[in-house]
């Protein structure tokens, strides 16, 4: 699944009539306007004022990645929901699939921070882990 997304992205780049794309750099508050000129796997970045901007621009052009954070329902929990995150960034294109999967999940208390909620979220190969602990209802009554 992960590879397929990568392929889709490449196809999009190849078929795009205008290979130039613009991003606002998020590395620091300066917020440089980056222009990325697509040349396969090694696009040229301009408009950046530092090396970090170049790295960001390339990554954002070739394969934008994002963290996904949300909440899942807890059965027997002291709280109705338990917050979760992807252990690392996933393909931006996979966000909504991940959110959809998270929405239908339930977890049983007790829950520990860092506990695996799903082994592989939306076929990304990335774990979904809890970011809030919930000792369960009986412990807090």
């Amino acid at each position: 699944m992960e590879t397929r997304t990568g392929m889709e992205m490449k196809t999009e780049i190849k078929t795009s009539p205008d290979r130039k794309r613009e991003f606002v750099c998020i590395v620091c508050p300066v917020g440089c306007s980056l222009i990325i000129d697509g040349e396969g796997e090694s696009p040229r970045v301009s408009g950046n004022q530092c090396k970090r901007g170049e790295v960001y621009g390339k990554q954002e052009y070739l394969r934008p990645m994002r963290m996904v954070t949300s909440s899942v329902a807890v059965d027997g929990g002291a709280q109705p929901l338990c917050s979760v995150k992807t252990e690392r960034e996933i393909d931006k294109a996979k966000i909504f699939e991940a959110i959809e999967a998270i929405r239908s999940m339930r977890v049983r208390a007790p829950v520990e921070i860092g506990q695996t909620i799903a082994q592989d979220i939306a076929g990304t190969g990335v774990r979904l882990i809890a970011t809030t602990a919930d000792a369960g209802r009986s412990h807090t009554a």
């Binding site: 991003f23 929901l81 917050s83 970011t131």
Partner: protein
């Protein structure tokens, strides 16, 4: 019920927890009063990541960041006290930190007597050696803006909506307009989009966003949500439920231009229009308040104009990074413990006067809106960090710090924006009179 503690902390959010831990590490007995049922404060509902890069050197979500400090507090004896008698039981060493949850602090006297109330103990009077004010801040509401129109359901502050979605599992609306591009508004634009709602636009009164660049890109641009600057909501429509809002462009004086008014249908209006430090206790006790920050006037120890009363976190000044809150709170907690341990000495002849009569005033000029701390006392350390904000965007900026008219620090910055708190370190041995943090545009 009457109690005593070396240091009483009001609030168990990130500021209160860090202050409590720092005070306990100085040997103080610490009592933290928390009105919610759990510790963690606003971080509990900030489930997105991006916290802790400065403090922990890694990116955490809000709940994870809070958990680190709760764990530190627990190591020093804290459980979330459902009963105030559950700590320091016979045979155990006395707890150094106790958190009293579901407990609302009602008043503070200049003599550091804190009155609080909860459903278990009734009224509680605590004699505090020192007090740390860490109440955080509140969101500005529709009432504060004076938006015209009807009063239907469907108008929320962004933080209230965040709590509903992230902690309670309710979606407050399906079609939204967000007014204000502060970080919480931006984060909620993404959150609501992820949960299937349609965010029609984010309107920002100012010609720039007060939110972080990263949030503008990753929460709004990523989802093609229009972000309109110099635009505001002038009217709310709908009887029972919001049916739409009127928006309008504003002129350079931020006055709506009537000819530009247009109707946008929506069922929900989220407001992310600023945060107000919560300082009823501070005012009630008679501490001097900075009219710009809305928080107490403090010295470099974060001591207010009342001896032994300290302030930190968003109750002192609205921060954009919790990492800075933690650091600031540690300073307040450490000096609060020191005050509690030595207050007999400090209240002697040199005593209260010395504390009250701050030696050096710190002011801002040019583009600088405010500086914290506002006073430098007899600083025991070699350097002092000054925190401040600018009132408009400078690209690039020249920052000059003078003391008694002499330049003691100067720096060029590529960009300074109102959304990012700035800081500059000065050496205390160079202080020689009033300190002025001046910001101006620099040559390109």
């Amino acid at each position: 019920m009457e109690r005593k503690a070396d240091v009483v902390v009001i609030g168990a959010g990130p500021a209160g927890l860090a202050a409590g831990v720092a005070a306990a590490d100085q040997g103080a007995s610490v009592l933290i009063l928390e009105r919610d049922e759990r510790a963690g404060g606003i971080l509990r509902q900030c489930i997105h990541n991006g916290f802790g890069l400065h403090y922990f050197g890694e990116e955490l979500t809000g709940p994870e960041y809070a958990a680190r400090f709760i764990e530190q507090a627990e190591k020093r004896g804290a459980g979330m006290g459902r009963s105030s008698a559950s700590f320091g039981a016979a045979g155990q060493s006395p707890a150094t930190i106790e958190i009293l949850s579901d407990t609302m602090a009602l008043s503070l006297s200049p003599e550091r007597i804190v009155t609080a109330v909860n459903g278990r103990d009734g009224e509680i009077t605590v004699r505090a050696g020192a007090v740390v004010l860490a109440m955080g801040c509140r969101e500005r509401t529709r009432g504060a803006l004076g938006i015209a129109g009807t009063r239907p359901a469907g108008i929320y502050t962004a933080g209230a909506a965040q709590r509903l979605v992230n902690l309670e599992g309710y979606l407050p609306g399906r079609e939204l307009v967000i007014l204000g591009s502060g970080d919480i508004g931006l984060i909620m634009a993404r959150r609501m989009t992820w949960e299937g709602a349609s965010v029609k636009m984010v309107c920002e009164l100012m010609p720039y966003s007060s939110g972080l660049n990263r949030n503008i890109v990753q929460c709004v641009r990523d989802y093609d949500i229009p972000l309109y600057f110099s635009t505001t909501v002038t009217r709310v429509h709908g009887r029972e439920r919001v049916e739409g809002v009127t928006i309008a462009d504003v002129d350079e004086n931020r006055r709506p231009i009537p000819e530009t008014e247009r109707f946008v249908s929506c069922d929900t209006l989220l407001l992310s229009v600023g945060l107000l430090p919560e300082n009823e206790l501070t005012r009630g006790a008679g501490a001097e308040i900075d009219p710009v920050t809305g928080g107490a006037v403090v010295d470099e120890r974060r001591q207010t104009s009342l001896p032994g009363v300290f302030a930190c976190g968003n109750a002192l000044q609205v921060h954009d990074l919790v990492d800075h809150v933690s650091r600031e709170a540690e300073t307040a907690g450490r000096y609060a413990a020191e005050f509690a341990a030595s207050k007999t000495l400090l209240q002697s002849s040199r005593g209260a006067d010395r504390l009250n009569m701050g030696k050096t005033r710190v002011i801002g000029s040019g583009g600088t809106r405010y500086v914290v701390p506002q006073i430098i006392s007899e600083s025991p350390s070699e350097t002092v960090d000054l925190f401040f904000r600018v009132g408009e965007v400078f690209k690039p900026a020249r920052l000059t710090v003078t003391s008694g008219g002499n330049i003691i620090a100067s720096r060029r910055k590529r960009v300074m924006t109102p959304g990012e708190m700035e800081n500059i370190t000065i050496r205390t041995d160079q202080i020689n009179g009033e300190i002025n943090v001046h910001t101006q545009a620099d040559a390109q």
